[in-house]
């Protein structure tokens, strides 16, 4: 997980570097279009184009049969069944390209979210730091301690809940990547709290589960960690006129890549 995240993050750090984080609109326009084009080319390469064309043609034939021979009930029924079978065949042809595309598309989306969905905290902002202990890890919430940098003030906490979570209420005092050190037993883990210094990649969550793949902004927790998650809830970055937040970026990415793919399909000679 950690290696995968490190490689993909390094690649995207380089790819996004020329335009920086201030020009979110550029990357939010560019990447869905590139993803749409790449998806078309992958589709063309790995799908059975002839089979897809044939399935679509046969679906159309079945549809015409239904319209032309609608007085013949039995004929309509047979044509409908044939049409549905071709439909299933068509869907079957799409499974392989979908499996091939799912990983690169997810990587692009995850990277766009990590880089653009959140805003760093501002001086004066108040934020809850939440630590969840791994079930069965042997540490209790009362054993969790933390060291805070000078750029962050602890306003309240820790509050240790009966379900194994620990909370602090923090106020941001200084710009910079503030690093909190958390301890549970012998284990020590850092957590970055980004404050000020303009738009950038904002780390949200450290976890030891597969979810770490969705949060490449910071290193995953080791597999045997006493911590299940360490997280912040930074505010959404305002991306107007694009939709904001994780959901907004995902929605935009799907819509824009689909539109781009649909518009370019003929020019690239792809049968969808």
């Amino acid at each position: 997980m950690q290696t995968f995240n490190a490689i993909t993050s390094r690649v995207f750090d380089v790819l996004l570097a020329p335009f920086g984080h201030r020009w979110a609109w550029f990357d939010l326009l560019l990447w869905p279009v590139l993803a749409g084009v790449a998806a078309l080319l992958i589709y063309k390469l790995v799908s059975n184009q002839k089979g897809i064309a044939d399935a679509k043609r046969r679906m159309m034939v079945s549809l015409l049969e239904v319209v032309l021979y609608r007085e013949n009930v039995l004929g309509v029924l047979v044509s409908t069944v044939k049409g549905l079978a071709q439909n299933l065949r068509y869907l079957g042809y799409n499974i392989l390209p979908m499996l091939v595309m799912i990983v690169p598309m997810t990587v692009i989306m995850v990277q766009l979210v990590a880089n653009y969905a959140y805003a760093p905290l501002k001086q004066g902002d108040v934020q809850l730091l939440e630590v969840t202990l791994a079930p069965g890890a042997g540490s209790s919430a009362r054993s969790v301690t933390a060291d805070f940098p000078a750029g962050v003030a602890v306003e309240a906490g820790p509050v240790r809940t009966a379900d194994g979570r620990v909370f602090w209420r923090l106020r941001m005092l200084e710009d910079g990547d503030q690093v909190v050190t958390l301890r549970a037993g012998d284990e020590t883990e850092p957590k970055i709290i980004p404050v000020g210094n303009g738009p950038r990649k904002v780390p949200v969550l450290r976890t030891r589960t597969w979810e770490a793949l969705l949060y490449p902004g910071e290193a995953a927790l080791p597999a045997g960690s006493a911590f299940e998650t360490i997280k912040l809830a930074p505010p959404d970055r305002n991306l107007k006129p694009f939709p904001s937040g994780e959901g907004g970026i995902l929605l935009w990415f799907f819509a824009a890549s689909l539109v781009a793919g649909f518009l370019l399909r003929k020019r690239l000679g792809v049968t969808l």
Binding site: L128, G157, P158, V159, R160
Partner: protein, 678 residues
């Protein structure tokens, strides 16, 4: 032919553009030719208190304004109640014109008290489907205020108008002006503010409290022998899709969100979880606004968003947590609270969450003794932060030629609640009857009202400093204040004088629960100052002929004005509705408006139709200052940064001044005269 058509089109487009440009210029020109007006509406500012504080050098901004311009008393409305007075200011009409006569009106067909702010709702009908009621028809609540608000003719004349927190403007009537509704705006439950109180202690007298009282217990979730978690619910809006149309919601008919309080085993701190929102609070701390979503339909369709603040009063030995009334979220209002409806959200984008509840100071929690005076003062400070930020924004947006109105609640509600700790109008006044219960608070809070006056002075200082040169600045209040030491049960007086008769020989009861024998009752009270004749043909079971009503009212009025409490007059003047009001809504007016003398006022119980044992008694409530009296004993104030040529102004004169400033003719029926006219 095609060339000619193209040329014609081009000419038309050009003319259209020029026309549009010239109209825009004309509209801008009307405003730009004039200096603007900035109005601070300070609810409840009293001329006597203000003069004293100016004389003592405690109000430098007001002193400066009075010295460079003018400071006078301002005639208020009759009765001098905020919704009545502000409606008079907004429309320039007396109550007979705008139709708001009291906080509480009555339905003559049922004798039940009804809101004076909204017309009775048409519930429509509904189709029942899988346990849900899908409404068909029906109407959303409409504002009952008649007349034309001053901002409409100003907008038509090209003046940009912004109005912040205008009382009596909920539900907001359609308008092109940017108007945020104030006093009267409901919370998510549809009332004027229902707080929630979560406590592990038993609560005495909870049936008389205005809040949702939850007696809770802590569970020991991790079985370590220390109780740690409370699970409860927070009520939101009525579950309208689960109720037939017209059904009055009972206790179980409200949508809820789960609330969990997780107590730290060692520290006096609590994690509050409300829906998807969280806050970590130590004892004595307030949370920021937390958004909470209520789901009336399955699959989270049409969520209704509210905002709530929590206050941890105590963690050990017992838990005490207060939750504010759930306010309508300005980020995504579940119902309109402004015109245009996007204005509330526009303010949210610039200010963050803010109080949308019409009366944000939680006087109910203080009255119910959930809050002590320290708690209340902290909560008022949150409201002040909101107000200060909103005023700052209003000043930032204010440009030459604009009109902006900003309402300040600082003084009114605090005078209502804190007068018992020290009379700011008469420093030698005898102690208020309600003071004894809170004697310990006098040292800390005895001069709080002065503090709230000084806060308004600071706000005015900012206004005077920041408005463009030449701007007309007006500071006005809707009424002044007096102590409220004696509670009058008007319905008990009517009973004792033979005008109101209870069924079955009862001595006490309620109009609302059918205890009154209408076949023998000639007059009844509903509302803070209102008295009605049980008139045949108008009331459902009326017995007094219309022709006999004037004689009956004259008799009651004479007795009320002769009424003495010891040596003191109880009622200064009893006004006849048809004599003091004029306009199209006069027929809806109370038959008599009871003008109580200083220190006296109608009890809450009698206002809502209760017939109590005693006729008059000491007011031991923390609601200890009042203005629901004869208008002459509670005038408001007017201050301007230009000299006023005359004296004796009243609220409609301020309205007329706003229009006259831009040369806009007064709408038909509007009363008042430009205060600067010779």
């Amino acid at each position: 032919m095609r060339r000619a058509a193209g040329l014609l089109l081009a000419v038309l487009l050009l003319v259209g553009r020029l026309d549009a440009l010239s109209s825009a210029h004309a509209a801008d020109g009307k405003a730009a030719d004039k200096t603007g007006i900035f109005v601070l509406g300070v609810d409840g500012m009293d001329p006597v208190v203000l003069q004293r504080l100016i004389d003592e050098g405690k109000m430098p901004s007001f002193a400066k304004l009075a010295a460079t311009g003018s400071f006078q008393s301002l005639g208020t409305a009759n009765p001098p109640q905020s919704p009545v007075a502000w409606s008079t200011f907004v429309t320039g009409l007396n109550p007979g014109g705008h139709g708001v006569f009291d906080f509480v009106h009555r339905d003559p067909k049922t004798y039940l008290p009804i809101s004076s702010a909204t017309l009775p709702e048409d519930p429509g009908s509904a189709v029942s489907l899988f346990g849900y009621y899908i409404p068909i028809g029906g109407k959303t609540p409409q504002n009952t205020r008649g007349g034309v608000p001053f901002w409409d003719p100003l907008m038509k004349a090209g003046v940009d108008v912004e109005v912040y927190r205008m009382p009596g403007n909920y539900p907001p009537p359609p308008s092109d002006a940017k108007v945020l509704s104030g006093m009267g705006t409901v919370d998510m439950r549809g009332g004027y503010g229902t707080y929630s109180w979560f406590t592990t202690y038993p609560v005495q007298g909870r049936e008389h409290m205005k809040g949702d009282i939850h007696q809770v217990s802590l569970s020991d979730d991790d079985l370590d022998g220390k109780p740690d978690t409370v699970r409860a619910t927070l009520k939101g809006p009525p579950d309208v899709f689960r109720m037939p149309p017209g059904h009055v919601p009972g206790d179980a008919d409200y949508l809820t969100v789960p609330v969990t309080f997780r107590v730290d085993p060692e520290h006096d701190a609590v994690l509050v979880e409300a829906g998807d929102s969280r806050a970590l609070l130590r004892v004595g701390e307030w949370s920021d606004w937390l958004p909470v979503k209520f789901h009336p339909l399955p699959a989270s369709l049409l969520p209704l968003e509210g905002i709530v603040r929590f206050y941890v009063r105590q963690v050990r030995p017992g838990l005490e947590i207060y939750a504010s009334p759930v306010n309508i979220s300005p980020a995504n209002p579940a119902q309109d609270i402004s015109t245009p409806s996007s204005f509330a959200n526009e303010l949210y984008a610039l200010l963050g969450y803010y109080y949308t509840q019409g009366m944000p100071e939680d006087t109910n929690a203080l009255k119910d003794r959930i809050f002590d005076d320290d708690d209340y003062k902290r909560q008022v400070a949150l409201v002040q932060q909101d107000t200060t930020a909103m005023l700052d924004l209003a000043l930032t947006r204010f440009e030459p030629g604009d009109t902006t109105f900003m309402y300040l609640s600082d003084i009114d509600l605090q005078c209502h609640m804190l007068w018992r700790l020290g009379d700011p109008k008469n420093l030698d006044a005898p102690p208020h009857p309600a003071r004894a219960a809170d004697e310990h608070a006098v040292a800390a809070h005895g001069e709080d009202i002065e503090g709230y006056y000084r806060h308004v002075d600071q706000l005015l200082g900012g206004v005077l400093e920041r408005v463009p040169e030449g701007t007309l600045v007006i500071v006005m209040s809707d009424h002044g204040f007096q102590p409220y030491t004696r509670k009058v049960n008007l319905n008990a007086w009517l009973r004792d004088n033979g005008y109101l008769v209870l069924k079955d020989g009862k001595h006490t009861g309620k109009i609302t629960t059918g205890d009154v024998d209408w076949t023998k009752t000639r007059a009844y009270g509903l509302g803070f100052n209102a008295l009605y004749v049980n008139q045949r043909g108008r009331e459902a079971e009326g017995i007094v002929e219309r022709t006999a009503a004037p004689a009956l009212l004259a008799e009651i009025g004479a007795k009320l004005e002769a009424w003495r409490d010891g040596d003191a007059k109880v009622v200064r003047r009893a006004f006849l509705g048809d004599k003091i009001y004029s306009g199209p809504r006069t027929a809806e007016a109370p038959d008599m408006v009871v003008g109580y003398d200083k220190g006296y006022g109608c009890s809450d119980e009698s206002t809502l139709g209760e017939i109590s044992e005693t006729v008059i008694e000491d007011n031991l409530s923390r609601w200890s200052g009042n203005h629901l009296m004869d208008p002459e004993v509670v005038p408001g104030v007017i201050l301007t940064n230009r000299k006023l040529p005359r004296t004796g102004y009243a609220l409609p004169d301020v309205t007329a001044t706003l229009l006259a400033h831009y040369g806009v003719p007064l709408p038909q029926g509007m009363e008042g005269k430009d205060v600067f006219a010779p």
